[in-house]
Symmetry: C2
C-alpha cells in the first residue's frame, strides 16, 4: 500500500501557500516532534527563512536533526530546500507603498510632483488599512453588528470630512434592503427626523477631530433617548466615545493635512455587509454562522 520513497510524484510545493496547505493536510499524521516543528514553522515563517538550523531548532525546542526530518517528511531532500520556499515567500511579497516611495534608486525625483502627491495619498491609505487590520477588535465588531442587526431603522450621522462615508453606508444599506436614514447637514430637518428614533433603532455616528458639533449634539440626544449609538471616531477622548454603546477607534494616516478615509470606508462596508448577511440568514440569529 505504501509507496514511500518510490512514487512521490505529487510535485512538492515550491511556493509557500502550497506548502502551508500540505502541512495543514498532514498535520494529524505527523509525529509529535515533527508536528511541533510544523506548528512553529507556520507561526514563525520569517524565522525559518532567516535562521540557521541550529537557531531555529533552539527556539522551536527541538534538535536540529528534527528540522531535517521535518523537511524530509514533506518530501524535500533537506532543510535547505525547504528553507528556500520560506525565502521565496518573502521575495514575492509585494513591496509596500512607503517603501516604493522611498526606495527608488535615484536621489529623489521619481515621477512628477503631481504623481508624488497621489503616491502620498496612496501611501496614507495603505498605512491606514494596515493599522486598521492590526487594531480592529473582533468582539467590538461583533457587538456593533449585533446591535445594528436588531435595529428597525439605522440612522447615519456624519458631517464634513466624514460625510462621504455616511453617504456610502446609506447607499450600500439601501442596496442591501436595510432601512436607513442619512442625517444631512443641509436639510434643517435633522431635529424632526431624529425625534422619530426609538430604542428599537440604532445610530452610526462618524466623527473625527475636530468633531463636528452637530454630529456630537445629535448623537448625544439620540443616546439620551435610549437609541444605541455605534461610533466611529479617532480616540478614546472623542465626545462620541462617551455615550456610544460601541465605538471604534480608527487611526487614519494623513498626507498634506488631508487624512485618508480608506480604513473608515472598509470598516463601514464591513458593518453594512455584516448586518445584511446576518439579516439574510435569520435562522442563526445571534451567533455568526460560518457560511461556506
Amino acid at each position: 500500500m505504501d509507496d514511500m520513497a518510490d512514487t512521490i510524484s505529487e510535485a512538492l510545493p515550491r511556493d509557500f501557500e502550497a506548502l502551508r496547505a500540505l502541512i495543514l493536510d498532514r498535520r494529524e499524521s505527523l509525529p509529535k516532534r515533527i508536528a511541533q516543528v510544523a506548528a512553529y514553522a507556520l507561526d514563525n515563517p520569517d524565522e525559518i527563512a532567516f535562521g540557521t538550523a541550529a537557531s531555529i531548532a533552539t527556539s522551536a525546542g527541538v534538535q536540529p536533526s528534527t528540522l531535517i526530518r521535518f523537511a524530509q517528511h514533506l518530501g524535500y531532500d533537506g532543510f535547505t530546500s525547504l528553507q528556500q520556499v520560506f525565502r521565496e515567500r518573502l521575495r514575492e511579497r509585494t513591496t509596500s507603498y512607503e517603501e516604493r516611495l522611498t526606495v527608488v534608486r535615484g536621489d529623489a525625483d521619481e515621477g512628477t510632483s503631481n504623481r508624488r502627491i497621489v503616491d502620498g495619498f496612496l501611501a496614507a491609505a495603505s498605512k491606514s488599512l494596515d493599522v486598521m487590520s492590526r487594531n480592529l477588535d473582533d468582539e467590538t465588531l461583533d457587538r456593533a453588528i449585533d446591535i445594528l442587526h436588531g435595529a428597525e431603522t439605522i440612522y447615519i450621522l456624519a458631517r464634513r470630512r466624514s460625510y462621504p462615508v455616511a453617504s456610502y453606508i446609506a447607499y450600500a444599506l439601501g442596496k442591501l434592503g436595510v432601512r436607513s436614514q442619512l442625517i444631512e447637514s443641509a436639510s434643517g430637518l435633522s431635529p424632526e427626523i431624529i425625534s422619530f428614533a426609538s430604542s428599537r433603532d440604532a445610530v452610526i455616528a462618524i466623527s473625527f477631530s475636530p468633531y463636528a458639533s452637530a454630529t456630537v449634539e445629535e448623537a448625544r440626544v439620540l443616546s439620551a433617548n435610549n437609541v444605541p449609538v455605534i461610533a466611529i471616531t479617532d480616540s478614546a477622548f472623542s465626545p462620541l466615545a462617551q455615550f456610544a454603546k460601541v465605538w471604534f477607534e480608527v487611526a487614519e494616516a494623513d498626507f498634506g493635512g488631508f487624512r485618508s478615509l480608506a480604513a473608515t470606508m472598509a470598516l463601514a462596508m464591513g458593518l453594512t455587509v455584516g448586518v445584511a448577511e446576518l439579516r439574510r440568514g435569520r435562522k442563526g440569529k445571534k451567533s455568526a454562522s460560518s457560511k461556506g
Copy 2:
C-alpha cells in the same frame, strides 16, 4: 584631516532606509567596483538578503572579497553584519492583506465571520491601491491637473456608488479655497446649474459600470458645450471615456459584490490637492515646481 578608522561614531545604519541614504550619500566617492556593488545592492536588495557572498558576487559581476570591502567601507565589520540590515528589511515589511487572509495557522476560522468580512474589504482596498500605484500614468495626471488648474469653477458629477467620492472632492476643494459645484441627484436643479458652465470651467465626472445615466448624459451635454471633462471610470469602453478630454481608468477590486473606493479616493485627493498646490504657487504656472 581625514579621521578614517578612528572616529566613526556616526552610528552605522541598522535599518535599511538609513543604509540606503548612507550609500546614496557616498555614492560619488566610492571606488568603481565598490560602487558597482552599491548599485547592485540597492537594485537587488532581496538578493543581498538571501544570497551567499559567492552567489551575490557572481551576479553583481565582482569578486566575493569586494562584497566584504563594500561592507567595511560603510563601517560594518563584515558582509554578514551588512546582510543583517537587508534581512531586517524583509522581516519588518508588513504582511500583505491577501497573505494575512490566507496564511493563518488554523484551517479556516481566524476571527469571527464579521471579521472576515472587514478583512475582505481591507484586502480589496489594498489591492486597488496597489493596482492604481502601478497603472497610474504621470502624464495623464499632469494634464488633468493642468486643465483643472485653469478652471474657474470645477463641477463634480457623480451618482450612487461614486457619490461619496464626489462629496469628498467638493469638501476638499472647499477647504482649499477652490470654487466647485457638486451636482447632486436629489436636487432637480441639475439642468439649470449645468447650463451655467462654460469652456472656462471644468468637470470631474466619476462613474463606473453600470454607468448612471444622469452622469453620462450631463457629462455629454457639458462636453458638447466645450466644458473640458475629466473622467474617472473603469474601462476604455465607458461612455465617459468617449467625450472626456482626459480620463483615468481605475480598477477597483471588489468584495462580496461591493467594489472598493480606496483607489478612486486617493486619485481624487491627488487631483484636488494637486490643483490647490498649483494655484497657490501661481508663479510657476505650468511646470510643476519642486517644493521643499
